[in-house]
């Protein structure tokens, strides 16, 4: 009956669960990649300082219940927590987007997601704190800036006691986090209970969420919710892509705890199955930010397919707008469907047959499932039906005149087809497809990474007493020249017009987004190196050779540097900021007392 050492083993919910790799969940080697130190390595914000609802806000903006009112139509019935803010326009968007659009007969329970533009620019008091947690996230998992996601659990069941004969209601999670799989799993737990037990249930759920650790990449998070514990790990940008997955142990009981192997990955194979002859062309279309519309029979299919498209170029972030589920009521409807301009660089998922007409002029249309008039529409649009379409059901397909730059990879198609014949599990097919896309994207992006890295000035050009050197500009011709020797042919066996593909890509929003991000990272790196160089200098010796005015100027400049380093989370070596503070302090102390007082006033910590 030996109860040993509970004091050592006891753990709080927040703690990373080091005990767990013994059974419940084990982590792939990716976990062992050590994170680079935080800002100065020493100032991780204290989660303990968070106020009530701060933790909740780190995960969700709010939870909405959308019901159907005979007179008003769809209406937001409840917003939880009650103090959350949504503009009228946002509420209207949520109302329309939370219900299936057409008579798609979604009887029973349906899950899907949507994305909408944030109406007003509301600043979160958490902003700075969330940036820290966001910093280590891969580009495609960072918090959305101007958009919200809505994750929907829609229930429609016959109920004779109601006037319309149906009970129709949606429970919707509104969040800036693109964790699709995670939020769908969460809703699967929450929504059925909510429909049965009403508001106390939401209150309990929100209360649980408000005690979750913040969504910090790289940690295994234990998230208790309504009697179940969900375990997840949010990937970091330092993970080797495709490796960091939690593993569910065989013995665990889903009423006790659930391990989610991924928080965001959709089943690519299932989503692309209806059009899988064209996956490589779809990859090009997404990479180039072409206007794409997915016409599907239900929001579940449209949203899954749009998310699959957006994620097929991972680890590249898809930088244009995308709407997993888009309706004619959307506030951007006019903007996106106008015929007076070329179709915008967006991916839309739609279910309303009305769009077949409205978006006739769109260059690329993907049809999933059986929608009427498919053949007819193809004729009207005068675009060619791709030749392989015949081998699948004739209605779904990709309608486009686009001619891919790269030659078709017959091997991946054969491999997947063989899998279908052999009844290979969908998860395995998905893994094959995901790896295929990953390798393709990496082959494409590596030459760009290599070229951009060469734009970095040499270390020796950094002088502590001059401003940090500038990055050299990106010159398309120079980049193209590097392709001859170090192009994608080094890592991919695919032939075709890679040069043409790059040329087109360099004009796309995805390149723009990618390059901005790289440039910012590299500029910050330069700033950090500059700061480190500055900290290595003997400032005492320097000020002896300068006037008082110059010394005061130095103090102010150093303070600016410190503020910038803190604000931008510059990737400096651990201890650098502490050193800088000590330097500032020492320089101030070398000045006359009256000046000391003044310089200490807006004191840095």
């Amino acid at each position: 009956m030996a109860l040993q050492g509970p004091e050592e083993l006891g753990e709080q919910v927040e703690e990373p669960e080091d005990l767990d790799d013994q059974d419940a969940s084990s982590i792939s080697p990716a976990e062992e990649i050590t994170l680079p130190p935080g800002p100065g390595g020493d100032e991780e914000p204290e989660e303990a300082l968070l106020l009530p609802w701060d933790r909740f806000s780190a995960w969700l903006h709010c939870i909405c219940v959308v019901g159907f009112d005979l007179e008003l139509g769809q209406a937001v019935e409840v917003i939880y927590p009650h103090h959350s803010k949504l503009s009228e326009k946002e509420k209207t968007s949520i109302c329309y987007l939370s219900f299936p659009d057409s008579n798609s007969g979604c009887l029973g329970d349906t899950q899907f997601c949507f994305r909408f533009r944030q109406g007003s620019n509301r600043k979160s008091s958490l902003g700075c704190f969330l940036e820290t947690t966001d910093r280590d996230a891969p580009p495609c998992l960072k918090r959305e800036q101007g958009h919200y996601y809505g994750y929907v659990y829609f229930r429609q069941v016959r109920d004779k006691s109601l006037k319309r004969g149906y009970f129709q209601k949606s429970l919707v999670l509104i969040s800036k986090l693109p964790y699709v799989t995670f939020f769908h799993s969460l809703l699967k737990i929450m929504a059925p209970e909510y429909f049965e037990k009403q508001e106390p249930c939401l209150e309990a759920a929100c209360n649980d969420i408000d005690r979750w650790p913040t969504p910090h990449p790289g940690r295994i998070l234990t998230l208790p919710i309504m009697g179940v514990v969900i375990k997840v790990r949010i990937p970091t940008c330092y993970d080797k892509p495709g490796t960091s997955q939690l593993v569910q142990s065989a013995q665990s009981d889903s009423l006790v705890s659930i391990v989610l192997p991924t928080i965001h990955e959709v089943d690519l194979f299932r989503c692309f199955y209806p059009v899988f002859f064209h996956i490589q062309m779809l990859w090009e279309l997404v990479l180039l930010g072409e206007a794409l519309v997915v016409m599907a029979p239900s929001p579940a299919e449209s949203s899954d397919t749009v998310l699959a498209l957006v994620s097929c170029i991972s680890p590249l972030r898809y930088c244009s707008d995308f709407r997993p589920y888009f309706t004619i009521h959307d506030s951007e409807f006019k903007e996106y469907t106008t015929r007076t301009q070329a179709p915008p660089s967006v991916i839309l998922g739609v279910t309303n047959p009305f769009f077949a007409k409205t978006l006739q002029h769109w260059p690329h249309i993907i049809r999933i499932g059986d929608m009427k008039q498919a053949g007819e529409m193809a004729k009207q649009m005068k675009v060619k039906k791709l030749k392989n379409l015949k081998t699948l059901d004739s209605k779904p397909g990709v309608y486009t005149a686009y001619k891919p730059y790269l030659n078709k990879d017959e091997e991946i198609i054969k491999q997947l087809q063989k899998g279908v014949q052999q009844k290979r599990p969908s998860a395995a097919q998905n893994a094959i497809l995901r790896r295929y896309f990953l390798e393709l994207t990496q082959s494409f992006i590596i030459p760009l990474e290599r070229y951009v890295a060469s734009l970095m000035p040499l270390q020796k050009s950094i002088s502590p007493w001059k401003s940090p050197p500038q990055l050299r500009p990106f010159i398309q011709q120079d980049f193209m020249k590097t392709l001859e020797k170090a192009g994608p042919q080094l890592t991919s066996r695919l032939k075709g017009d890679w040069i043409g593909l790059y040329r087109h890509f360099l004009k796309s929003p995805n390149f723009d987004g990618w390059f901005r991000n790289r440039r910012r990272e590299m500029t910050q790196k330069l700033e950090a190196l500059h700061l480190e160089a500055l900290c290595e200098e003997d400032l005492q010796q320097r000020i002896q050779r300068h006037t008082e005015v110059e010394t005061v100027d130095l103090v102010l400049k150093l303070k600016d540097k410190l503020t910038q380093a803190e604000r931008e989370q510059l990737p400096v070596r651990p201890g650098t900021l502490a050193k800088l503070r000590a330097h500032i302090e020492a320089v101030i102390l070398a000045l006359p007392e009256d000046l000391q007082g003044i310089l200490h006033k807006p004191s840095s910590p």
């Binding site: 109860l3 050492g5 509970p6 709080q12 209970e193 106390p200 208790p224 009697g227 665990s252």
Partner: protein, 195 residues
């Protein structure tokens, strides 16, 4: 060393000290002004029991009536339920009996039930005689202890007894491990008296 997760829920009337028991067990602290729980709160603690690590996933439910309907979410899948009453409130003992009934009807078939008569430090104000409660616990084959979260009496013991019940029944018999006892197990001999 094997690690097992044991889901444990605490049930019982509002104000009997469910959260205080959990705080005492997990944090070894006591706050007389603890707020009423909303929905349920969750805590974990891992302890070694013989050659196993038992990680208690503790769902401390709200006693307030408006959360009553949520209880099934917490006892579903639970290895054990600790039903708490306040020895100074007869009414809370009646509520406890209702919880036992509900668990019998809807709870997991193998759930271990532990009855905790809390606030045994307030024996001057006692309304529920220890013998009555003990007899009742025996009649339903439940673990029984009187506890004081305030004075740290019998708190760890409840969890040890739960661990005992959830250890693999017979290693020698081989195979069937860790399926615990049914509600109808023999009453434990190791009752600890208090005060």
């Amino acid at each position: 060393m094997a690690l097992r997760e044991l889901k444990v829920c605490l049930l019982g009337d509002t104000g009997v000290g469910k959260s205080s028991i959990v705080w005492r067990f997990v944090e070894d602290s006591f706050d007389p002004n603890i707020n009423p729980t909303i929905g349920a709160s969750f805590m974990t603690k891992t302890v070694q029991y013989q050659n196993e690590l038992h990680k208690f996933l503790i769902w401390d439910t709200a006693g307030q009536e408006r959360f009553r309907a949520l209880a099934p979410m917490y006892y579903r899948g639970s290895a054990a339920a600790i039903i708490v009453y306040d020895i100074t409130k007869e009414e809370s003992f009646q509520t406890l009996k209702n919880w036992v009934k509900e668990l019998r009807q809807h709870g997991p078939p193998n759930i271990v039930v532990a009855i905790a008569g809390n606030k045994c430090d307030l024996s001057d104000a006692r309304e529920v005689p220890e013998k009555d409660a003990k007899d009742y616990a025996d009649s339903i084959h439940a673990i029984f202890v009187e506890t004081s979260a305030k004075n740290a009496i019998n708190i760890n013991e409840v969890f040890i007894e739960i661990s005992e019940c959830r250890i693999p029944v017979a290693d020698a018999a081989g195979g069937t491990s860790g399926k615990g006892f049914k509600l109808g197990r023999q009453a434990s001999e190791s009752r600890r008296t208090c005060c």
